[in-house]
Amino acid sequence: MLKIEGAKKHYKHRGQMVAAMDDIWLDIPEGDFVSVVGASGSGKSTLLLTLGGMLSPTEGKVYLNGSSLYDLSPDKRARLRREKIGFVFQTFNLIPYLTALENVQIPLFLTGASEIVQREKATALLQRIGLADRLDHKPSELSVGQQQRVALARMLANDPAVVLADEPTGNLDPETGRQIIGFLEEINREGRTVVMVTHDPNAASKARRTLRLDAGRIMNGRVPQS
């Protein structure tokens, strides 16, 4: 489903070259649940953004269902994200001036769904995550756990095949964190591919496999084919 071939990402920081990704080779089959762990600055987030079509590597190729992401035009990549990829962020990234319902409607609006369809689907998703009574609440009127659940509902709006989660429990208390991981396991069981960056060993242990990153390299990943 997702494949990285020899990806490198170098950038200059205060005059010195830093390798955020250094010759990454990775193959993530459909329905996999991968956790990515590593110290801060090891390149976890760079890897996630690269997989999501948001950050082009300096070298190498990234494939989603066989099509090379960074050989597509930016608009085609955006369409691919709309249709296939869902992001979950550590700080939820809800739009503060919209209600929970409207936040979940955004991905549907971006695909051109009618307002009626948007409303019906967003309401059903919020009901699924137990926020049926918070539809018209703005993010500031919700607890952090509720905000992350709204973000999960938003991520599911366009029924993505791939879920990319960056520290989804990083800002949550242990109990709410467990609920969110449980939710990610549930959507993985539905057949979606999940890649989760985390610092939390408990959360990482729920994945089917764990990748450890160090200085832009996968320490326990697949060896490049010759």
């Binding site: 369409r79 992001f87 550590q90 001036y97 991905p107």
Partner: protein, 406 residues
């Protein structure tokens, strides 16, 4: 969820930050609309006042030097009355009223007054009917102005004073100036003997503060006959259209009557033209100010808004928003800002003009709906153009930088 919902909600979320830019355009549009509105009615009022003032072109004998506009005809030199026919039958545009005069000093009741012969308008109508051409076939609306509320039209009695022309005057009728009437105790309907001939006082003219107050007006042909001067006049007063005067009416009359001297109250015309030019310049200055200050303010606000919303933009991009969606979000916001400032500026500017017009220009001012088009034609393109570069910048934001925690 629609694009406009997204834009609308954001505007109200951060309305305080938007207020400065909005006010900058709103105030600029307000001032421009106010100036344009007041200027329009001021020009109309000046035109009306010029019309009420009376003749603004004088045709005199060549040798005469004009000391006082109102007493220019009180000299011994004369020009042929036939000049009136030449003017009447000419194809000159912009001649409104003609008033030939013959003035002579006389003594009535022991007091020296001026007897002035004038030609009533009905005789011009007769001339036009006979000859089928001339000033009565001039283009419509020349020299006439729109009625403005608050400026009442003159009563028939005052037409000689205000418009330098009266409709009818019999051969044994006179009009008496206010000072003459007062000193000789003459009232309307009284008989008065002038140079051995008895006249009926048709009207006592209102006070004007000019030498006209010391005149007695009789029919031109009667005065010509009484003085034995023949078919001559001392002067011909002409009410000309201001536009035509500025387009060279005086030179055209000079060509038609090369042996006469043609003068105009240039100051009056110049005053109007100067006022118009000043208002026009002021309007241009404000247009430049609004473009510079308003444009800079909007651009500055939009850049700050893009910076503040970079995480939101990054999130939208992560959810699959293309650059066109991001561009539309900012340009639609600019459009709404321009529309609101344009409409608001029109409403406040119009209200200001209605309130301030009578105080500043001494004229009543009414709303001009067409000015809303001007207001929108300035505010909307300005807001969109000033927002364009910040909007382009938003589409080119680095998603990694926008999602800082990733």
């Amino acid at each position: 969820m629609r694009l406009r919902t997204l834009v609308w909600r954001e505007i109200f979320e951060r309305k305080n930050q938007l207020a400065t830019s909005f006010l900058a355009i709103l105030l600029g549009i307000t001032v421009i609309v106010s100036i344009k509105n007041i200027t329009f009615y001021s020009e109309k009022a000046v035109a009306k006042e010029l019309d009420a003032l009376g003749a603004n072109v004088l045709i005199l004998p060549k040798s005469v030097t004009m000391q006082d506009y109102y007493s220019a005809d009180m000299q011994s030199e004369v020009i042929p009355e036939e000049y009136v026919d030449r003017l009447t039958n000419s194809d000159l545009q912009g001649l409104d009223n003609l008033s030939p005069k013959l003035s002579v000093p006389i003594i009535v009741g022991g007091k020296t007054v001026t007897l002035t012969g004038i030609l009533p308008k009905d005789e011009f109508s007769a001339k036009a009917a006979w000859q089928g051409a001339g000033i009565f076939s001039r283009p419509q609306n020349c020299g006439t102005v729109v009625d403005i509320p608050g400026l009442s039209s003159t009563s028939p009695k005052e037409t000689l004073v205000r418009k330098r022309v009266i409709e009818t005057l019999g051969s044994n009728e006179i009009l008496v100036g206010a000072d003459v009437a007062s000193s000789l105790r003459i009232r309307e309907g009284d008989q008065l003997e002038v140079m051995g001939r008895t006249f009926t006082t048709t009207a006592v003219l209102p006070q004007t503060g000019t030498v006209d107050d010391a005149r007695i007006f009789a029919h031109l042909h009667t005065v010509q006959e009484m003085t034995g001067k023949g078919s001559v006049v001392s002067a011909i007063e002409v009410v000309g259209c201001c536009n035509e005067i500025s387009l060279g009416l005086v030179e055209k009359i000079n060509k038609l009557l090369p042996d006469a001297k043609v003068v105009t109250i240039t100051q009056v015309v110049d005053t109007q033209l100067k006022t118009n030019r000043t208002m026009s310049r002021l309007s241009t200055v404000f247009l430049v100010i609004i473009i510079l200050v308003g444009g800079a303010s909007i651009a500055n606000y939009m850049y700050a808004n893009v910076f503040e919303r970079r995480k939101e933009i990054g999130t939208l991009m992560a959810m699959g928003a293309g650059s066109s969606v991001v561009l539309k979000i900012f340009l639609l916001k600019a459009l709404l800002l321009g529309l609101a400032a344009g409409v608001g500026g029109y409403i406040i500017g119009t209200a200001l003009a209605i309130v301030m017009g009578p105080k500043l220009a001494g004229v009543p001012v009414l709303p001009m709906p067409t000015l809303i088009l001007l207001a929108l034609a300035i505010a909307v393109p300005l807001a969109i153009l000033a927002s364009f570069l910040p909007a382009i910048r938003a589409t080119r934001l680095d998603p990694c930088a926008t999602l800082q925690e990733m």
